[in-house]
């Protein structure tokens, strides 16, 4: 299979998720006998091609053009062109905000199917199958592409390792065919959440608070712990619906589905829709006054106690641990 990987960059930097997707693309190409290429769009992005070669791209189609300075629907047109140029059998995108927006725009254009948010795959002997969560991870589906048909997938960030696999990374200028008239749904600017910690979707450590937080003012203690751990602050639906914290922090079936290395649930009882969104975390810590809370059933470690006592002590203990080296 010839595999085309969309390599997402923002502000002239390749996303880690782009390299993860490249590694997935390389492995599929190797297992099925084909080439792996990347497509890179933006302005002044040429120098990023080298890193894609190191991660396994035989070729990098570069669309370095002012037309791609901001994300727009024209990205879909350009990626479609790259797919046609290499006769791609498979397209790989990152399941990031951009990748999830872009992938269906490309696959609809090509009239092919798309699997969202793939979390594992098996590629061997010319065949490939993919696993993806449904019901926010309450169940997993294993799917295979219809025989001989091209297809697309988006792969969940932070799940697949980046593997060094140096290839030629031959840079090819993409004949993208985009004209100014194709610039629809253009991003005008990006408002960065000021002074905020990481986004829960990207963080490897999440400190999350629920109904037990009692009010918006108390999130400060979670922020302090998250800051000390280099993580993000999450929340349950109860806390978001109460208006204590913005919905962009919400973890669960109606929020973000996350799989960080460490998830610390503070004052979260563990409603089924919350558990669906976080129970694939590698390590889970539960801090709750109620020993019967369902969150303890999925926790690696639990403390039955008052989060207002436990969390500040934990921040201190982490500080002390770091100071001790």
């Amino acid at each position: 299979m010839n595999v085309l990987v969309f390599a997402e960059q923002r502000d002239g930097k390749l996303k880690k998720a782009a390299l993860e997707a490249m590694s997935v693309g390389r492995e599929i190409a190797d297992a099925t006998g084909g080439t792996a290429a990347a497509v890179l769009l933006g302005q002044g992005v040429g120098p990023l091609a080298e890193a894609l070669g190191k991660a396994g791209a035989d070729k990098v189609y570069v669309g370095d053009d002012a037309l791609f300075a901001s994300y727009s629907d024209a990205y879909g047109l350009a990626v479609g062109k790259a797919a046609q140029a290499m006769a791609a059998n498979a397209l790989v995108f990152s399941a990031t905000a951009m990748g999830k927006d872009l992938a269906p725009k490309v696959t609809a254009r090509l009239g092919i199917g798309l699997l969202s948010d793939v979390t594992s795959f098996t590629a061997a002997g010319g065949a490939v199958s993919f696993q993806r969560p449904i019901y926010a991870g309450k169940a997993f589906a294993t799917l295979v592409p219809a025989a001989g048909k091209p297809f697309g997938v988006t792969v969940r960030p932070n799940v697949f390792p980046v593997k060094e696999c140096p290839k030629a990374g031959e840079v090819v200028s993409l004949d993208h065919g985009v004209t100014p008239g194709d610039l629809k749904a253009v991003v005008e600017k990006i408002l960065t959440a000021q002074g905020e910690l990481l986004d829960v979707a990207e963080a490897n450590i999440i400190v999350s608070g629920g109904r037990g937080m009692k009010g918006p003012e108390n999130y400060k203690i979670l922020e302090e712990l998250a800051k000390e751990l280099g993580g993000a602050v999450g929340a349950s639906r109860a806390a978001v619906d109460a208006g204590w914290i913005d919905h962009s922090h919400q973890v669960g079936q109606t929020g973000k589905v996350v799989s960080p290395g460490l998830y610390i649930a503070c004052g979260i009882s563990g409603a089924i829709q919350h558990l669906a969104g976080m129970s694939s975390s590698k390590v889970i810590v539960a801090i709750n006054k109620d020993p019967e809370a369902p969150i303890f059933k999925v926790a690696t470690y639990g403390i039955v106690g008052d989060l207002f006592e436990v969390v500040p002590l934990m921040t201190q203990a982490v500080k002390a641990m770091k100071a001790a080296g």
Binding site: L114, T142, V186, V304, G305, V310
Partner: protein
Amino acid sequence: MNVLVFVKHVPDTETRVKVAADGLHLDLGEANFVINPYDEFAVEQGLQLKERLGGEVTAVTVGNDDAVKTLRQALAMGADKAILCSDAGFDEADPLATARILAAAAGKVPYDLILCGKHGVGGDNQQVGSLVGQLLGIPVVTVVTGMELEGTSLQLKREVEGGTEVVKATLPAVISCQKGLNEPRYPSLKGIMAAKKKEVTAWKAADLGLDPASLAPAFGLQKLELPPPRPAGRVLAGEIPAQVQELVKLLHEEAKAI
């Protein structure tokens, strides 16, 4: 201002899923089916635009005959009309097939704007709005938390990692709605009564001019399974300060998580 709102009939988020004996279907047991939570933001947005600018809001769904309940919910909130696209296999249509059905339906109804939820809970594909926009050849903006409309110019806010993108688009367009865009209204008793009298149009593949072959699934399902159970955890004991010390030590040395 005529607005189409795509809605989906889904099991609510409290549903416990089990895999049926064939390993290829979910046993949703006593699941309570509701309008997809994100679609409520889409319906609300459509109603607010109608209240400001006039026109009609039409709710459209693809599914089985039971999905009419979700259309009634949209009608009870205040939508004017509803269309049920239902035929053999429609309730198991994959995202591309669903989008082809919806795009065909949109081709038969005048519209200025199409709204849908950010994603349908359950399938979790987050594709259909984007696919439809592409099939219709109109702009698409997804995961929208803010919308301003001046004439035919839209300024939208969309959620991305660690920030918000401000996006410009022109009508007609497809917008997928995220929590935060508005506060969906509850249907009033009057609305619920009125919804019972509103007509629901039913369309089959033939009414939509669709060739069933174009709706074949793009992927074959091999199996469905539940996630592996998590290994049993440890609840610590002792005085709280000692527990915290132990926890941090375990996270560092045993779990290597910090």
